[in-house]
């Protein structure tokens, strides 16, 4: 048994495996990069890198076949390979310190990428000049939000992730008399006014604007500048039976209201909100250009940061290459709209953000140390060879020992 384990570890630690995995990684990166032209950067990440196996749908059929190891598999095996090799062949000597550092840095880099893939959340914060917000909107996640707005001072919000709507099972809202029954769900859809399409089948909706709108399901888009409009018909049931069916879609932002059991609810399908315990107000957005050109020189947002307990109240400038890091979130200047009156900040929460910095320092220093050692050894040998009268390199060009004179 021990022998078997030992032989397994030896195989897992082999340089041959390293090379196979490195070549697989190269091929994976190349095909993923080429596929970006069709799929866009996000879908490519999910398909090739954040997966164990790359699955390809055969064109013209519904059949999907696995055809290449995915990023998690290749990266994970590389990590195992590296750890096994270190475990088996680890010998601490001054000669090897550089290599150990480098490999440790690379292992850290792989772990860091995994941590980022699993834990980081990207969202956006859009602020008009003068506006204040205490939440960001997720880049990809969407939610069905039901807000009890009966009390003018206090709102209670229930948020349902879209994956629950796809399953079409009744969803109970804790502490709320309502139950939600998803009837139809489309990942993306287009809309027409009912009066423009008189022959369309009747809408399932009995409440809100859904009655005037015709929904046409569409294929999900992956283009960088387009956004899917997830759409659902959901039925609300109160304690006394069905209240009605409503159309909820990302494409139509305004919340729809209805009353049930004496309380008023607002419903919206929106980008999932991430709430902070502080707020940001946009004081000024600047979009500087180089004189006489349209080339942007700088985008910057002057914002006021206030914590909810009023312990902090200060002004911050967020501009290109100068993010604001606060409360575990990082705010980056990402875009603008509305004739430069509105700023778009990208908000990232990535608990592992420091790992690559550390990894970079370790592997860089390690390589530098190792190669410097080799170089000095080489030069020493070269000197010794010259002193001894033999010349390294080609004997066709003997170098006179005296130096420059012919």
């Amino acid at each position: 048994m021990r022998a078997l384990l030992r032989s397994l570890v030896e195989h897992l630690a082999s340089l041959r495996l390293t090379i196979v995995l490195l070549v697989l990684a190269i091929v994976l990166v190349v095909i993923a990069t080429l596929d970006q032209v069709h799929l866009g950067i996000w879908a490519v990440q999910a398909k090739y890198f954040r997966s164990f196996v790359v699955v390809q749908q055969l064109p013209g059929t519904g059949v999907s076949i696995p055809f290449f190891p995915g990023g998690y598999l290749v990266g994970g095996l590389l990590l195992i390979n590296l750890l096994c090799a270190q475990f088996l062949r680890f010998r601490l000597s001054w000669r090897n310190v550089g290599l150990h550092l480098t490999h440790f840095g690379i292992a850290l880099l792989l772990v860091g990428e995994l941590v980022t893939g699993l834990l980081s959340v990207e969202s956006h914060l859009t602020l008009d000049t003068g506006e204040t917000r205490n939440y960001a909107e997720a880049a990809f996640q969407r939610e069905l939000a039901i807000t009890d707005i009966t009390d003018p001072v206090f709102d209670q919000v229930w948020s349902v992730p879209l994956s629950r709507l796809e399953r079409r099972e009744p969803i109970a809202l804790p502490g709320c008399p309502l139950t939600i029954l998803p009837i139809q769900f489309f990942p993306n859809a287009n809309f027409f006014m009912r009066r423009d399409a008189p022959n369309a089948p009747a809408s399932p909706a009995t409440l809100g604007f859904g009655q005037q709108v015709v929904v046409q399901p569409a294929a999900p888009t992956y283009r960088p500048n387009e956004e899917n409009a997830p759409t659902a018909f959901v039925e609300f049931r109160g304690p006394d039976g069905p209240v009605g069916t409503m159309l909820a879609t990302l494409a139509i932002a305004q919340p729809q209201t209805f009353t049930a059991a004496g309380r008023t609810y607002a419903v919206a399908l929106r980008r999932t909100r991430i709430y902070f315990d502080f707020s940001l107000s946009l004081l000024e957005f600047r979009h500087d250009k180089y004189p006489g050109t349209e080339i942007p020189r700088n985008f910057s947002s002057r914002v006021r940061l206030r914590s909810s307990d009023a312990s902090e109240d200060r002004e911050v400038r967020i501009f290109m290459n100068n993010p604001l890091r606060h409360g575990g979130y990082t705010f980056y200047q990402s875009g603008f709209k509305n004739d430069d009156r509105t700023t778009i900040l990208q908000v990232v929460r990535n608990p592992g953000w420091l790992i690559p910095y550390l990894a970079c320092v370790l592997s860089g220093l390690g390589l530098l140390y190792h190669f410097a050692l080799s170089l000095f050894a080489f030069i020493k040998r070269d000197r010794a060879a010259v002193a001894g009268g033999t010349v390294p390199g080609s004997p066709t060009s003997p170098r006179p020992a005296t130096g420059g004179a012919r």
Partner: protein, 619 residues
């Protein structure tokens, strides 16, 4: 033993003297001080630069070269052409400078290749009758995304840009429709106080001189046209203003006169200069150039030192000279393998060192002019890859003395400069950096290290090429040289690994700093990653003794393909956050390069018995 001056030293000195000769200030071709005119500063593209640069970049943009011939067969300097385009458009319109490479576009303009200079260059006068047709096609093509445009539509848009560049110049320093702009300005200044009074009176409903009011309105319209059309900001801010960037164009400067009742001095001087150029009066012209020099330098802007250097740099064209010298280095190195090895190898090394110094000076000049680290765009990356590659190769030559480093330095130096010179030209190569790239710290760290990695990869690859070609095609590769080549290549691969790994991770950190994502799987990032992984493959294969000398060298040669793909290929994908733009013809050359490398790799895969230098690979 009698000591004489060594030949290699003399060769280096001779080449150095020749290089120094190219650095002198140019002479005027005739009595007009056109070179003095070329030295005058203007603000174009966000940067203060000499008019000479405007002339050269406009010509490169319009016709892909700097040389101009008049219909009568005279050659013009770029500055002379610019003077004609600015002040004598009726002549400049007849020069065949607009490059059109697409026959469908020619058909649209009712032209055939026989009408053009060299079949591809046409005059504005030839294009003018059909501009309306072109406009229609431009409207259509402009609605398509860049990736969806076909070659015809791209050429239509390109021609539109070329025409805009040209017309922007025509409106920059005078009204092209005016017969005598200087006289018109004098008349404007004379009538301005009365006309303003008359206009005020008319607006108040009092009796006024209708003719004067009308004339003033006419000027207003003309100046507004100038303001909207002029492409250069040629008029410096008044000395009282302390914003050094507040240069204005001719139209703005003239409209300002409505408030001050005075036309700014540089406007008058440029008008006088234009009149003198039109009437062929060198004395007045030279006086106007001198006056403008005083006007424009009066602000004492420290950036003017840079424009002076840029003018010299434009004339010296150090990269052309260096390209020629690198050819000489490669030839000397190559011949040294066949005859007089000691002398020729050292001649090659000293000439190579001069060429490398010249590119160093050129890159340093660009850095000073731009106030930027060496690599800011694709063009400067080509210069820098060559600089690093040639420098590393010359260092290897200094260590090994077998002339291999010379040939590598010559080949890399020459080829990268050719790539730089023939890159699709999109305007000034010293353009302003877009907001996210405007960070000297990251440009100096990430971009420089990654580009050094490219350079080292190419050195390793070219060493591999020499190994395989010399080994298979000649008997000159003896075991000692083969050993030396292997060690040189190993050194270069180590260097490449270090710099590409550190550069790639630094790029990730920059990305984390600017958009919060350490790694986004952007094509450019992936390209850098592939280089790192490939170098890791080469090193591990060698350490694990999984490849012999031939395999190791073939892996290094394939590194050329990978580096070229990462450097240029990802720009051709047309996706990604920092791609430099789509390049058609470059793709052909990239494929040709890949193919050539694969052919050599195939040669390298031949069994040792088929190598003419068998001993080198069997050991």
């Amino acid at each position: 033993m009698k000591r004489s001056l060594p030949i290699p030293f003399l060769a280096g000195l001779l080449v150095l003297a020749a290089v120094a000769y190219t650095l002198r200030l140019p002479d005027n071709p005739d009595a007009f001080d056109t070179e003095g005119f070329g030295r005058l500063p203007v603000l174009v593209g966000g940067r203060l630069k000499p008019l000479d640069t405007v002339a050269r970049t406009s010509l490169l943009l319009i016709q892909n070269r700097q040389r101009v011939k008049t219909p009568a067969g005279h050659s013009l300097t770029p500055s002379q052409w610019l003077l004609d385009a600015l002040f004598r458009p009726e002549r400049a319109d007849t020069y065949k400078v607009f490059r059109i490479d697409n026959n469908e576009v020619l058909a649209l303009l009712r032209l055939s290749p026989e009408d053009g200079d060299g079949g591809v260059r046409f005059s504005f006068a030839q294009l003018a009758p059909h501009l309306a047709d072109l406009d229609q096609q431009v409207q259509r093509a402009a609605q398509l995304e860049a990736a969806e445009q076909n070659p015809y539509e791209r050429e239509v848009l390109k021609l539109r840009n070329r025409l805009q560049t040209y017309l922007g110049l025509r409106y920059s320093l005078q009204l092209p429709e005016s017969d005598d702009f200087a006289a018109e300005l004098i008349r404007f200044e004379q009538m301005l106080p009365d006309a303003l009074a008359a206009t005020e009176a008319a607006m108040a409903g009092k009796p006024a001189d209708e003719a004067l009011v009308k004339e003033l309105a006419g000027y207003l319209k003309k100046f507004q046209l100038l303001r909207s059309q002029a492409s250069m900001l040629a008029i410096p801010p008044p000395p009282v203003l302390d914003d050094p960037n507040a240069w204005s164009n001719l139209g703005d400067a003239l409209l300002a006169a409505f408030a001050t009742s005075r036309v700014a001095q540089p406007v008058r001087d440029y008008a006088a200069l234009g009149s003198a150029w039109r009437s062929g009066d060198p004395e007045t012209f030279n006086r106007a150039v001198a006056a403008l020099r005083t006007d424009l330098v009066a602000g004492n802007d420290p950036r003017l030192g840079r424009t002076a250097l840029e003018f010299l740099f434009n004339h010296a064209q150090p990269f052309y000279t260096a390209a020629a010298l690198y050819v000489l280095v490669a030839l000397l190195g190559f011949v040294s393998w066949l005859a007089w090895p000691a002398v020729l190898a050292r001649c090659a090394l000293s000439v190579g060192f001069v060429a490398w110094l010249l590119t160093t000076a050129g890159i340093a000049a660009r850095m000073y002019i731009e106030s930027r680290p060496p690599v800011t765009n694709l063009y400067s990356s080509a210069l820098f890859v060559g600089w690093v590659g040639a420098g590393l190769a010359l260092l290897l030559e200094r260590l090994f003395r077998n002339s291999i480093g010379n040939v590598v330095a010559g080949a890399i130096g020459f080829l990268t400069l050719i790539v730089a010179i023939y890159l699709p030209f999109t305007g000034d190569t010293m353009e302003m950096m877009r907001a996210v790239l405007d960070s000297n710290f990251w440009l100096a760290t990430h971009v420089v290290t990654i580009t050094m990695g490219y350079g080292a990869c190419f050195v390793a690859g070219v060493l591999g090429l020499i190994f395989v070609l010399r080994g298979t095609l000649s008997r000159s590769l003896d075991p000692a040289t083969a050993q030396a080549l292997l060690r040189m290549t190993y050194g270069a691969v180590c260097f490449a690994t270090l710099f590409s790994l550190v550069g790639t991770v630094l790029g990730g950190i920059w990305a984390d700093q600017s958009w919060g994502r350490f790694w986004g799987w952007d094509p450019k990032e992936n390209g850098a990653l592939i280089i790192v992984l490939w170098n890791a493959v080469i090193l591990h294969a060698r350490w694990g003794k999984l490849v012999g000398p031939r395999g190791f060298m073939n892996l290094a040669i394939f590194g050329n393909c990978i580096t070229a793909a990462s450097w240029f290929g990802v720009n051709m994908l047309g996706v990604g956050l920092h791609s430099y733009g789509f390049m058609d013809s470059a793709f052909f050359w990239l494929c040709a390069f890949w193919l050539s490398q694969l052919v050599v790799i195939a040669l390298g895969c031949l069994p040792p018995s088929l190598w003419r230098s068998r001993a080198a690979v069997e050991s």
